[in-house]
Amino acid sequence: MSLAGSTTDTSISFKLKVWRQANAHAEGRFETYEMRDIPTDTSFLEMMDILNEQLIEQGQEPVTFDHDCREGICGMCSLYVNGHPHGPATGATTCQLYMRRFKDGDTITVEPWRSAAFPVIKDLMVNRNAFDQIQQAGGYVSFQTGGAQDANAIPISKEAADEAMDSATCIGCGACVAACKNGSAMLFLSAKVSQFALLPQGRAEAKRRVKAMLAKMDELGFGNCTNTGACAAECPKNIKLSNIARLNREFICAKCAD
């Protein structure tokens, strides 16, 4: 038995085709970079760091991309890698993608999220402020906190708690929009609506919430949902498509009550 954890010393060389765009209004183009002897234990973003270090060494401008926690929980990293948001790995963000997923001699294409609602800021960085605006339209509960309540005053079943928690794991990265042929934000919205709809604390404002958030989404230029399911297939947090059914149900109920 070889001891587990013996990470290998293998490294690969490949071509990197990266989208470069000076700003929102400039014309973009692909630039090709040769990457040599990158250890397969390198994460995708660390590989981008290596590229940028090389570019800076040559006096050139580095590739702009979003990143922050690099442990898959902040939702900042994006990157459309070889036609997939967050690359070929499932249930993982770009920062959790490792170079062992690629082969020596590959050509790896890296693009920004492409959606009318997410304009490019520079290179691979897009403006995802639209998601913040949807959240601000109703993605919260408002109540006076007052004194701390006794524990277990509002019983919640484990099923409901688990499902609300699963919806709440949405990190708002925008991969669902990037994956969707219509540029729809329905999976994101449905996760945000579901995490509250499933819990008693969220019921009080449920009707107002779903109408306001949906109206905001439409206003910001996201496309419509045709139930293709690419969003759920590409979601790094495995947000389920059934959330969209719940969103539709919540919306119809809210409209009927008008």
Partner: protein, 304 residues
């Protein structure tokens, strides 16, 4: 076992050359006993997310049987190594969570108010919620109620001009250095200095060395930095440079404070001050206080 003790033990083994993995910077964490006792389903329910993340990073599934010797099942061990994750302490605030700058409030993890000497799980989340839900809604109006009679400032005033000039001078300085080092390369060096000399176990000598190295690093930053591109529009290197300058200041501050505190306490472990069992030896007689340092250019003044 407290995380500081576990972390120091892991680092000690690696420093002595007993580390596993091709870098030598890891020790094994073995779940076999727990899996054999509770079953893989229970363990997966507790740590499934962690196992999945680990597999994505290393290509090894810790829930997978590795070997069976004399009827005892052994599962793939995980390679672990301590890493800096959190800073105990933060921006000084009063009981209303207002900083020393009037009208500027600091809430959540960034202020010092609820931190102890050691990090407790989920304390950052707890503090964000507590400050936001329970404190700020009852304190910020004390400030705001006085503001209603204050007329709007004009941006034409001298103070605005001076602030703008200062920021512009700062930008011009950083963009004008045109040296040889990237922001990231200096940032990495800073990380190594902090890890090696101001890390989980410190000594008087290591902290003094750190302060010297940090002084040199600041000089390197201010004289040999290279930021490509221009000031206009998005420039991530310029953005990072401003933050790195703050990180160097922060690093110096941590080293000064650690040097000044002649005791071990929580996450601050001075090798000179330990019990026979290797636990932190406190000196409450002399150090039973929260240290507060005041920014004064690049000089620091202790207020207790």
């Amino acid at each position: 076992m407290p995380r500081d003790v576990a972390s120091r033990a892991a680092k000690e083994r690696c420093d002595k050359g007993f580390g596993v993995n091709n870098t030598g910077k890891a020790v094994f964490l073995d779940f076999s006993e727990a899996i054999n006792r509770l079953g893989i389903d229970v363990i997966r329910q507790r740590y499934g997310n962690l196992f999945d993340m680990y597999e994505e990073i290393t290509d090894v599934n810790p829930g997978e049987l590795a070997n069976e010797i004399n009827g005892v099942k052994y599962y793939n061990p995980m390679m672990i190594y301590p890493a800096i994750h959190y800073t105990m302490g933060g921006i000084w605030v009063d009981y209303e969570l207002q900083t020393s700058i009037k009208g500027l409030f600091a809430i959540g993890e960034c202020n010092f108010s609820d931190h102890g000497a050691n990090r407790l799980g989920a304390s950052a989340l707890m503090q964000g919620l507590a400050d936001g839900y329970f404190v700020l809604p009852y304190t910020i109006q004390n400030y705001l109620s006085d503001q209603i009679s204050v007329p709007r400032f004009s941006t034409e005033s001298v103070e605005f001009d001076e602030a703008e000039k200062k920021v512009q001078a700062n930008l011009d300085h950083l963009m004008g250095i045109q040296g040889k080092r990237s922001v990231d390369s200096i940032h990495k060096e800073l990380g190594n200095v902090m890890w090696d000399y101001v890390g989980m176990a410190r000594t008087k000598e290591s902290l003094e060395t750190a302060l010297e190295k940090l002084k040199a690093l600041r000089k390197e930053f201010e004289t040999n930095l290279f930021i490509p591109g221009t000031q206009e529009g998005m420039n991530i290197e310029l953005d990072k440079a401003f933050r790195l300058r703050d990180f160097i200041t922060m690093g110096e501050l941590i080293a000064y404070d650690a040097l000044n505190r002649h005791e071990s306490c929580g996450g601050h472990f001075r090798e000179e001050h330990q019990t026979e069992e290797g636990e932190a030896k406190r000196d409450d007689e002399n150090f039973f206080y929260v240290a507060c340092w005041k920014y004064n250019g690049y000089k620091y003044k202790l207020q207790t």
